[in-house]
């Protein structure tokens, strides 16, 4: 039977700072380069796992107040940090895994200013070491 998960209280931590109450979307990409391993005699393509090339996309409401989005992200541009995403608050478990990207790079901080809308920032952290904690 299919199950659905309604996220109500996921946890998003950027550089140890809990940004959950400013975050509206988190997409964690666990990706490995696909290396061709096809050889003579094969009739179908074969692939093996290459280097990990992970990333995480985060959407935030932009706030320039102290300890908010701008203060958290502005000094991370051009540097590396650690990002953690968890489906729900509480201890990490098999049903509440803590996805971590350590040493991930933030290349840019685009801020969206639109008339009559809340300002937002969509950032992408790329690279780094991926790990999943279930305890």
């Amino acid at each position: 039977m299919a199950t659905s998960t309604i996220l109500s209280n996921p946890v998003v931590t950027v550089n140890s700072v809990d940004m959950s109450d400013q975050c509206t979307s988190a997409v964690f990409h666990v990706n490995y380069n696909q290396l061709t391993a096809t050889a003579f005699g094969d009739t179908d393509n074969k692939y093996v796992k290459g280097l990990g090339d992970h990333s995480v996309d985060l959407e935030f409401y932009m706030s320039f107040a102290a300890s908010e989005t701008w203060a958290t992200l502005k000094s991370l541009v051009g540097t590396t940090t650690t990002v953690i995403v968890q489906p729900s608050s509480g201890a990490a478990s098999a049903t509440n895994p803590k996805l971590t990207l350590t040493g991930t790079f933030l290349a840019e901080l685009p801020v969206n200013f639109a008339l009559g809308e809340l300002s937002t920032a969509t950032v992408t952290f790329t690279g780094g070491v991926y790990s999943e904690a279930t305890s």
Partner: protein, 56 residues
């Protein structure tokens, strides 16, 4: 030892372990720049530079 300022990071006033944070890939300088932690050290007592009068 750094102190936590922002509740987004922990309990304000608690110590922040910079070495452990660095090992975990945390950008400590960004936390300082963003005002999340303070590394201000305790002020040293003022130096006294009074010249002792020679007693004859």
């Amino acid at each position: 030892m750094a102190k936590i300022i922002s509740p987004r990071l922990g309990t304000p006033g608690d110590d922040f372990d910079e070495e452990a944070a660095l090992k975990a890939g945390i950008n400590v300088q960004a936390l300082i720049d963003g005002g999340f932690i303070s590394t201000s050290k305790a002020a040293k007592s003022a130096k006294t530079n009074s010249e002792q009068e020679e007693t004859r």
